[in-house]
Amino acid sequence: MRTDDLIARLVVGAGPASRAMAARRLVPVIALGFVASAALAIATMGLVPEPMWSHQALWTKLGYAAALVGACAWLAARLARPAASAVRPLLATGLIVVTMAAVGVAALVEKESSARAGYLLGASAAHCPWVIVVLSVPAFVGITWALRGLAPTRLRLTGFAAGLLAGAVGAAGYALVCDEVSLTFIALWYSLGIALTGVAGSLLGGRLLRW
């Protein structure tokens, strides 16, 4: 086909450019990913016992995950726009992680030194990050689909953002079944699970996000 003919075909009935393309694609897959990870977690591990709902740890987990979902969705949306700068969402994401780490360290320092190891490791440190990785898979699939319909040009970095975002969604789902009450535990092991999905995302990004 000649290029002029191609242009003529593209132009006919093109209509106005779609607006808020990133939000329209990302928001539904994030919501679906959360529902899927929450359902999977509750079905396999059971909802937290009633008293947890009035404990600050549960709301810290959900708040931390929600803040990261917001920042990482912003980051992914910026990276999916060619030529747009992603510096501010990167800083926002870093700030949230650093804040949570500071909260975790502060809570640990308050403890008696004999109680610190237990406060740090809880009862589930060994599997918490891996469960978060597994629970992030549905969100990661959806987010990858959403980003392929946009235009990411830095695939590894975008894959990293997609992984962090999916990891944060998976962490929110895990918060509903996790009965750890330590803030230090959240700061370390939740962050580690989310970081692992980020790394996995950046390794897969170059292949999965091509368009």
Partner: protein, 183 residues
């Protein structure tokens, strides 16, 4: 056309096209296609056959992804980012399928470097000449590039002197239309 000229020419058309003005959209895509052709011809000098394919693929991508342009950013930056992405993507898949000897690192390291104008001139010229009808191309080659007089060229080709002059005139006009300069 410099980058700023490109932006100045494209931006008003693009903002009208965003609101659904098809004539403006057509004009914008036409300008972009010329820009892309030069951008790719220079970087794919060893594979001129790939140039037009890549121009078309990029135009299609720009069309499908035009909702990803942030109106707060210059549209030329957006076009260039996508053009560069499609070029790197071609190199990457080319390397994978046809096992080129050059590594991707080699390619990306060389990416921003421009070839000297003097070297790319003949390539551009050939591309442009390739778009002319045979008679016009032959006449321009003989008289303007090889430097024959009209009568020598006439003797060599068997075409009359006046017909050759007409072909040269038409061909040159067409060339200047192709490069987008007023005659």
């Amino acid at each position: 056309m410099s980058k700023d000229d490109f932006e100045a020419e494209l931006a008003p058309l693009w903002s009208r096209a965003r609101r659904g003005d098809e004539a403006a959209y057509r004009a914008a895509l036409t300008i972009i296609a010329m820009r892309l052709r030069r951008y790719y011809a220079r970087r794919l000098a060893s594979r001129p056959d790939a140039t037009e394919d890549l121009v078309q693929e990029t135009l299609l991508a720009l069309h499908l992804k035009r909702g990803t342009h942030d109106p707060a950013l210059p549209v030329s930056n957006w076009v260039h980012a996508i053009a560069r992405y499609k070029l790197v993507d071609l190199w990457r898949s080319h390397g994978r399928h046809e096992a080129l000897h050059e590594s991707l690192d080699q390619f990306t390291k060389n990416l921003p470097a421009r070839e000297p104008e003097a070297l790319t001139m003949p390539r551009d010229m050939q591309l442009l000449l390739g778009k002319l009808p045979d008679a016009q191309r032959a006449a321009i080659k003989l008289i303007k590039l090889e430097g024959l007089t009209a009568s020598e060229a006439s003797r060599r080709t068997g075409v009359s002197v006046s017909a050759l002059k007409v072909q040269v005139h038409r061909g040159l006009r067409r060339l200047s239309d192709l490069v987008g300069r007023p005659t």
